[in-house]
């Protein structure tokens, strides 16, 4: 199994979720994160205090999928999240050794 971690722009969250579901992913977990990267933040100014905002709001999706389904899921995210503009985000793939569904105790791919 693979853990697919995708960091995308917040307003793309719904599109990406739909794309993943369409690609057969049945569960995922989302966190609100702040991202630092090539996309430079806006300058925020509060009264006199001006500073470069290094971190931009992003959302991180984490979905564990079957090995077989990983490539398709990555594709789905890529297609749904791309705007072609800097800051579109990243997808990382990690190996997962085991998965458990708490409710039933099922493990492995059956747990996804």
């Amino acid at each position: 199994m693979k853990l697919i971690k995708a960091i995308v722009k917040p307003f793309k969250l719904d599109d990406v979720r739909e794309a993943l579901v369409a690609a057969g992913v049945e569960g995922l977990t989302v966190s609100e994160v702040k991202g630092y990267g090539r996309q430079k933040g806006q300058t925020e100014i509060y009264r006199g205090a001006e500073y470069q905002v290094n971190f931009l709001p992003k959302v991180m999706l984490e979905a564990v999928v079957d090995d077989a389904a990983a490539a398709k899921a990555v594709e789905a995210i890529k297609a749904a999240a791309a705007t072609g503009k800097i800051g579109d985000g990243k997808i990382f793939v990690l190996n997962v050794e085991d998965a458990v569904r708490i409710r039933t105790g099922e493990t492995g791919a059956a747990a996804l």
Binding site: K9, F11, D14, Q42, T43, E44, I45, Y46
Partner: protein, 435 residues
């Protein structure tokens, strides 16, 4: 009067700003607060410079529709000038009257923003704050509220009585149902239509970012609204107490009936429904506050919310316009319901205050000494209907002109990117919350 003025300020900042601000998404929070504030401060300055004059002076040849230039820059508005109330010989300082009316002008324009929230460009809002009152608010206020006062009439009893158009219909509007709510509600609808819907409208969720703030706003609106309704009596007497009681009862009833409507149709009563109902009740009772009896107000409150619910959900969804924060659905619709109902609830047989025979008081213009006229339901409802119609048409046309002017010059909408990233960071360079 001074207190009432304060209360109306409380309604705008922070009241209305929070009510609206809580309903937008977090990324547009500051833009909402900023737009409300900007419209308010510009409205206040413009009132001093030209607004007061255009609303509350004799407009000469155009007097039926709009005032004149006699009080530009508050010329001759001093600590020794006074304006008439409804009783002969009773006056209030003109500065107090002008301040009270200034807050009305400010809040009306701010209300419109609810229809165009989350997508209108800040620059466009600035221009709107200048233009819209010129074409819509000042004329409407003049049409509904302008008359020279009982003392002036008493001084020249044989002259024909001057007044704005809608005042002349004999339509009843205690505290601005037409001028404020119908006017703002229609403008919001027109604005929403001309701007078009927000990106993602009806496809992505756009939940309110803080219903707590919306609730606080609704509570402050209620508290402040007494400035509207009791202050509109101009004199403090037992009619002010009646206006207050009605403002309590109709509001409570409307809050209740909105939640009951939800409970019946969706099995759940929501806090937002309660808050929306409270505001709908406040809107509906505005024209009727000094005319209806408490039991009449109870009925008005119970009736207005279900009607607003229909507009805010069924009709809006069917017609697919994006009245983002339901400025039309609550202020426009609630204002129309209230204005029409005023014609019924004033019925003395139903506990209302009855109408006044203006012919018997024309000699001195003092309303408090006029005879009570025979209330004829059809006459009164017709007068109300005419007032509503004129207000709707005027507001729609004036607002359309204003929005189209902006659209074809400066542009109305923020860029697609700004809409996605949020207006706060793109237009104002700030974010509402940090940790």
């Amino acid at each position: 009067m001074l207190l009432s003025t304060l209360l109306v300020l409380l309604m705008i900042l922070p009241g209305l700003a929070l009510f609206y601000g809580g309903l937008v998404r977090q990324k547009n929070m500051l833009s909402m607060l900023m737009q409300v504030s900007t419209v308010t401060v510009i409205g206040m300055m413009a009132w001093l410079l030209w607004g007061y004059s255009l609303a509350f002076t004799d407009g000469g040849g155009l007097d039926t529709f709009v005032g004149g230039f006699g009080r530009l820059f508050f010329k001759d508005v001093t600590t020794s000038s006074n304006v008439a109330t409804f009783s002969t010989g009773v006056v209030i300082p003109e500065l107090a009257f002008a301040a009270f009316q200034m807050t009305f002008a400010a809040i009306t324009a701010a209300l419109v923003l609810g229809g165009v929230a989350e997508r209108m460009k800040f620059g466009a809002v600035v221009v709107f704050a200048l233009l819209w009152p010129l074409l819509s608010y000042y004329p409407m206020a003049h049409m509904v509220w302008w008359w020279p006062g009982p003392d002036a009439i008493a001084a020249a009893p044989t002259d024909p009585i001057k007044s704005g158009l809608i005042w002349g219909f004999g339509a009843l509007d205690f505290a601005g149902g037409t001028v404020v709510h119908i006017n703002a509600g229609i403008a919001a609808l027109v604005g929403a239509l001309i701007l078009g819907a927000r990106k993602g409208y009806r496809t992505e969720p756009m939940p309110p970012h803080s219903l707590t703030l919306t609730f606080v706003g609704a509570g402050l609106l209620w508290v402040g609204w007494f400035g509207f309704n009791a202050g509109s009596n101009l004199e403090a007497n037992s009619y002010a107490a009646l206006a207050m009681m009605n403002t309590f009862i109709a509001t409570a009833a409307a809050g209740f009936s909105w939640t009951v409507t939800e409970w019946v149709t969706r099995k759940k009563a929501s806090m937002l429904g309660m808050a929306s109902g409270l505001v709908a009740g406040l809107v509906a009772i505005t024209p009727a506050a000094g005319f209806a009896g408490p039991v009449g107000s109870l009925f008005l409150g119970l009736i207005v919310s279900p009607i607003c619910v229909i507009f805010c959900s069924t009709i809006k969804n069917a017609l697919k316009y994006d009245d983002s924060l339901d400025a039309f659905g609550i202020h426009g619709v609630g204002g129309i319901v209230g204005a029409l109902a005023t014609g019924l609830l004033v019925n003395p047989a139903w506990g209302g205050a009855g109408v006044v025979d203006y012919t018997t008081c024309a000699a001195d213009g003092d309303i408090s000494t006029c005879d009570t006229a025979t209330y004829v339901m059809s006459t009164q409802v017709l007068a109300q209907f005419k007032a509503v119609l004129v207000a709707c048409v005027w507001s729609a046309v004036a607002s359309a002109i204003v929005f189209f002017i902006i659209k074809y010059t400066l542009g109305l909408r923020a860029s697609a990117d700004a809409e996605e990233e949020g207006l706060d960071i793109v237009e104002h360079g700030e974010r509402a919350y940090h940790s």
